[in-house]
């Protein structure tokens, strides 16, 4: 992957460069603020940008705003945003940023997830190739806060597990791997979920994510 990193903490930035370089990925630029990020994306046209939400000068949501700008200007560039705390609103802002809204090439993870290098790089690869990666905590919050509790109650425990993984952006194959079941039975669960929640079935992973999020979301 060709990657641009924006993270204001020098030690975390160096750590990210190290783990990505170690896996043979190409880090084109590693910067410390939103404006430099936009310039770097403009100059290098990377596959994916890794963006910390809180950066100078205001240390609020500069990174998120830069990420949204990248989504608008370069829909082909994946954006993986990470932050110290999960804000469900940030996820909604990101997903709504692309023209027409979409979950393709978007990721939003808790910053601590980079400590699990394997999972992090996998999520990054998913986002770089037009997939989706949402933090399990975002999904848990969405499910917990969902006003569609009655619809969700109709799901079996296993179906709820599948729904949560689906909302994180995992493919059927990945879900089968995590739950240690066959891909065939995951497909069956997914079909049941879509039927019970009255959602239009979809093959593309990110459209599926979007459908699930729309269902769970406050709208």
């Amino acid at each position: 992957m060709r990657i641009v990193i924006a993270e204001d903490s020098a030690v975390v930035r160096a750590g990210l460069v190290e783990i990505l370089a170690d896996r043979g990925h190409e880090v084109l630029a590693a910067v410390g603020d939103g404006a430099s990020l936009l310039a770097a994306v403009e100059a290098h046209r990377p596959d994916v940008a890794v963006v910390d939400v809180r950066m100078p000068p205001g240390y609020t949501d500069e990174g998120l705003r830069a990420a949204i700008a990248i989504r608008r200007a370069h829909p082909g560039t994946g954006v993986l945003v990470f932050s110290q705390y999960i804000e469900t609103r940030y996820a909604a802002d990101l997903l709504g940023a692309a023209p027409g809204g979409g979950a393709a090439g978007v990721g939003y993870l808790l910053k601590d997830r980079v400590a699990d290098v394997g999972e992090f790089v996998e999520a990054l690869a998913r986002v770089a190739t037009g997939g989706t990666a949402l933090d399990p905590e975002v999904v848990t919050q969405l499910i917990g806060a969902s006003r569609r509790a009655i619809g969700l109650a109709a799901l079996t425990a296993r179906e709820r597990d599948v729904l949560a993984l689906m909302a994180e952006g995992r493919s059927n194959g990945a879900i089968a791997g995590i739950l240690v079941v066959s891909e065939r039975s995951v497909e069956k669960h997914v079909a049941n979920i879509f039927a019970k929640l009255d959602l239009a079935p979809s093959d593309a992973d990110n459209r599926r994510v979007l459908a699930v999020l729309r269902y769970l979301g406050p709208a």
Binding site: V11, I19, V114
Partner: protein
């Protein structure tokens, strides 16, 4: 009654101002009692005079009314003023506390949290490499694993130091032993040599000690950062219900309250307990900043 900016006009009578202001200034808690006693006397006189007024003719009634008016001025009129001052200082205390929490959160986020995240990343890499080497699926690059573990160890050590410094910034452990030991430690850590004189025979309340300590810390930091001084002096004297902290230096002066800097922060903090801040810092120096705090908050 001494909000340091003097943004609330004083309303006490000329007599009170001349005779007892100086005393009351040094003993803030005496304000209430003095007003109460004086007010009580005037109420008493007013009532006696009006009672005699009915016997001796109405000539005394205006004097009685005047007495009651004076009593009102002493007992009731100062209250709204004091309430406003307390509202001011409470708002500043709340802002101060919120600002401190924000600063702690930022320090944790930028410091120990970031360090530990980097440590975890390095250990994750080292672990993967070891797992691959043990499982026979990758090269046994022990040198690289060693470097990763060594870097992680360094990072953890830095994080420990940062956490310790942060904890000390929230509450310095030396302060538990009293202001003397705490200020000794503080002076010893200063980059500019500090002459220390502590005369605190009786301990002020814990809140006052904490404010005094952080004032001294801030002032010494200012000396090191801004004054280009070669020498500083730190004096703490506790006498007659008043704790006085004074920091002076032989630097280039020019320190002033400009509404944003560290000195304004000090003024706010000192104001929450009715303390005072005095600055003498002509261009070219020397600089002397004195903080006066009541013994108890």
């Amino acid at each position: 009654m001494q909000v340091p900016e003097g943004d609330v006009p004083a309303q006490e009578s000329l007599l009170v101002r001349i005779l007892i202001k100086r005393f009351l200034y040094r003993h803030p808690k005496a304000w209430g009692s003095a007003y109460l006693v004086a007010g009580g006397v005037h109420v008493f006189l007013g009532l006696i005079l009006s009672a005699y007024g009915f016997w001796w003719g109405t000539g005394l009634i205006p004097i009685a009314a005047l007495e009651l008016w004076v009593a009102h001025r002493l007992l009731v009129a100062p209250l709204p003023l004091r309430v406003r001052q307390l509202e001011h200082s409470r708002a500043r205390a709340v802002d101060d506390a919120a600002e401190m929490l924000r600063r702690i959160e930022r320090d944790l986020h930028d410091g120990a949290q970031a360090q530990l995240l980097a440590v975890a990343m390095k250990l994750a890499l080292a672990r993967e490499k070891l797992a691959a080497a043990i499982g026979g699926t990758g090269p046994a690059d022990l040198q690289r694993v060693f470097e990763l573990v060594a870097a992680a160890h360094d990072g953890a050590t830095v994080a420990i130091t940062e956490l310790r410094d942060l904890a000390r910034g929230i509450h310095p452990p030396a302060l538990d032993q009293g202001l003397g030991p705490a200020l000794t430690t503080l002076a010893a850590r200063s980059q500019v040599p500090v002459d220390l004189a502590v005369d605190v025979p009786e301990r002020p309340s814990a809140a006052i000690e904490t404010i005094a300590y952080f004032c001294a810390a801030e002032l010494l930091t200012n000396v090191a950062k801004h004054s280009a001084a070669r020498h500083a002096a730190l004096e703490a004297v506790h006498t007659g219900g008043l704790l006085r902290i004074q920091v002076s230096d032989d630097g280039n002066g020019g320190a002033r309250l400009d509404g944003h800097g560290g000195l304004s922060g000090l003024l706010d903090r000192v104001g929450t307990v009715d303390g005072k801040l005095r600055i003498s810092s002509p261009p070219g120096g020397p600089t002397s900043v004195a903080v006066e705090l009541p013994s108890r908050a």
